[in-house]
Every structure is written in C-alpha cells, then in structure tokens.
Symmetry: C3
Subunit: 145 residues, 3 copies
C-alpha cells in the first residue's frame, strides 16, 4: 500500500492532538490562565450553558478558575476527553476541527459517571507558530434538536 | 532519544485516525450514503446484532439510514468513539486495525450512558489513494466468551 | 497556515499512540508476558491500589495474569482507554507522558460501566529502537486530594 502524499497534513494532525491534550490537562487542572493562553487574544467560547459566548483571555481564565473552585468545594473532579478529532483545513489556512467531548465527573470516594456528551466545533489558527483556538462552539447531545 | 526511522508508518497512523474520525461523524450524523462511501464497493460489516454480515454500499447505507430514523423517533443520540487504534500493516499491503469502540447514548433531556463496549477489527485498503474499509467485524464485551 | 517545523516530534507522537494501543490490547487480553515486554527490564508500575510499586517484568506479568484470571472467574471484561496523551520530551531524551485512563468494565450479559477514571504519568524510553515504559504512576480521580 503506497503511503499518502499528504505528509504535512498528517504531521499537522499529530500537532492538533498534542495541542488538545495539553489544552484539556490545563483545563481540568483548573489552570485558568494557562488554558486561556491556548486561545487567541480575542478567542471566543460558546458553551451550551450560557446565552452569550465568553470572549477574551481574561474572561476565559476567570470562568475556568471559578468552575475549578466550585468543583473543589463540591469534592468532584471533571475530565474533558476529546475523541474522533476531524481536522478540516480551510482555504484561508484556518482549521475547522470537529470532535466529540466526553465529560467524566468523579466525586471523592465515589464512582465516575459520564456527565455530558458533547460535540465541539473549533476554529484553530496559528499565532507565532503555535496553534490557538479562535472560536469554539459546543453542543450537548441531551439538547440535540 | 533518536527518532524512529519509520516516518511513513507514523504518517499512515495519523491518516487512519483522521479517516476514522470522519467515518464516525458521518455515521452518527445519520449520513448513510456518505458513510457507505468510506467502505469499498464490496465492503462488509459484521455487527454483533446480525447473523450475517451486511455487504455492499447500498445495504450499508440503508442500515445506517434506518437506524438514524429509529434513533430520531426515540429522541436519542448515539456516538461511536474509537480508541486504542492499533494499526498492523500486512505483507499484502492491507492494514489490519484493531480498536475499542465505546457507543454512548444520550436521550433528549437525559443523562448520557455507556451503551455498549466493543472491539472493532477492520481491514483497511487504499482505493484511488483513499483509505476504505473492506471488512469489519465487531464484537461486544457483554457477549465475550 | 504554514506547517510546524517539528515533523520528527509529530512522528514521535504517532509512534507513542501506536505504542499505547498495542500495550493496552495486550493488557486487556490478559497477555501478561507480552505486556511486560513493553516495559524496560527494570520497569516499575505504581498502581493506586498497592502501597509499593511493582518492579520488573516477572512481577508485572504475574500481576496481569492474576488479574485476568480473576476477571475471567467473575465473568467480566475490562478495557483500558487512554486519551488526551500529552507527550513532553525531556532534556535527557526521555519522554514524560501524561494521559487520562478510563477503565470500562462489562459483565457478561450486562451493561458496561465506567469503572475508574485515572491519570497516568509515564516515563517512556527507547531501547533497541523501541519505546518502553520505564516508570508508571497512576492516580484515581475518586481519591483526588
């Protein structure tokens, strides 16, 4: 079987996966500032739970830090697991990336549960050589139309 | 640590992952025709729920479209999440790929549940430069011998 | 979007994923000896359930074989699903790899459940050209401090 000729796309795929892995470990560790830096300065995140997107690194970091404090208070750990990462390069050079996100919640001393099943639609761009999220829209399967 | 010399195998690995990501998004979106095109024309799929494999794109597409209609009727979303994708190139140039498949089901307004845990054994081939499934066998862990 | 210049790192990323896929299929198939060979000869594994790490291939293999026998006796299948694999090459050439591990348990004739949610911290090294685990530490989210 001849190899594909698209080796740079394949290289990009691994880079996207590594990007998301670090991104989610920062999120789940409650490192709001570190996580916000993986967005562009004007990056936006439209979660299913809010009527308006969160825009800009300060707001993104604050949101994560608040959520982390609430989880610590509740004695619960959340993990965000992306899978089926589908990278679609666009003509303008940006990347449309669709993936599934499992959110797993584990209470201290209890059993883990699959808290939410979501679809994540990102626009990734490259800034100073590094991938960044410019736009994220997340939809929940339990609110699927 | 010196890098491996098998850069084309590594490139192939990313290509397989990207193939499966698109493949599963098509399946879960209920796009039977699009999904069937990711099989070879004579592609076969032996699911655990049927006594005989489904063979050929028409039959594959029909199966997905029927399942999608039934899920919509039931108000439930299913997601197929492959993981631990183990690619084994064979001497004839085809690829044996073993992976785990989690099927997550979410009812409208309800909590997601892990519906089935399966092992997926595929034979992938390249047709006109693109990966295609020629043969798929799926086994359910709850029916493990 | 220009591609990254770190193509050898991206190649390494795919190699790590393929390594873990095979590693976990061997584990879940109960192949203690095959699994132990994916560790270095002095490889250690500190699971959350034991006060001391398991060290060396004989001990590693024995542990898996015993666990597999107990699961077969109980009529239950366990699967280890790594995700969000974050590879951090170190200056000494070894790799620090952090990932999430879902352990899914399925009783014969029953429904799968998310048994444990863990974080896996590995040190991977290359021996005779092949990746090996030299050290593994696993923490459970339900025992998160």
């Amino acid at each position: 079987m001849p190899m594909g000729t698209s080796s740079s796309v394949e290289s990009l795929y691994a880079e996207v996966q590594q990007f998301y892995a670090r991104h989610m470990h920062l999120l789940d560790a409650g490192d709001g500032e570190g996580w916000a830096l993986t967005f562009t300065e004007d990056g936006s995140f439209a979660p299913p739970s809010l009527p308006e997107p969160i825009v800009g690194r300060d707001a993104l970091a604050t949101g994560v830090n608040k959520a982390a404090a609430a989880l610590a208070e509740a004695g619960e750990v959340h993990r965000h697991l992306l899978s089926m990462v589908w990278v679609q390069p666009r003509e303008d050079g940006e990347l449309s990336v669709r993936s599934y996100a499992q959110i797993v919640a584990t209470p201290r001393g209890g059993s883990p549960r699959l808290h939410l099943m979501c679809v994540c639609d990102d626009v990734l761009v490259r800034v100073d050589g590094e991938l960044r999220v410019r736009e994220r829209r997340v939809t929940r399967d339990d609110r699927h139309p």
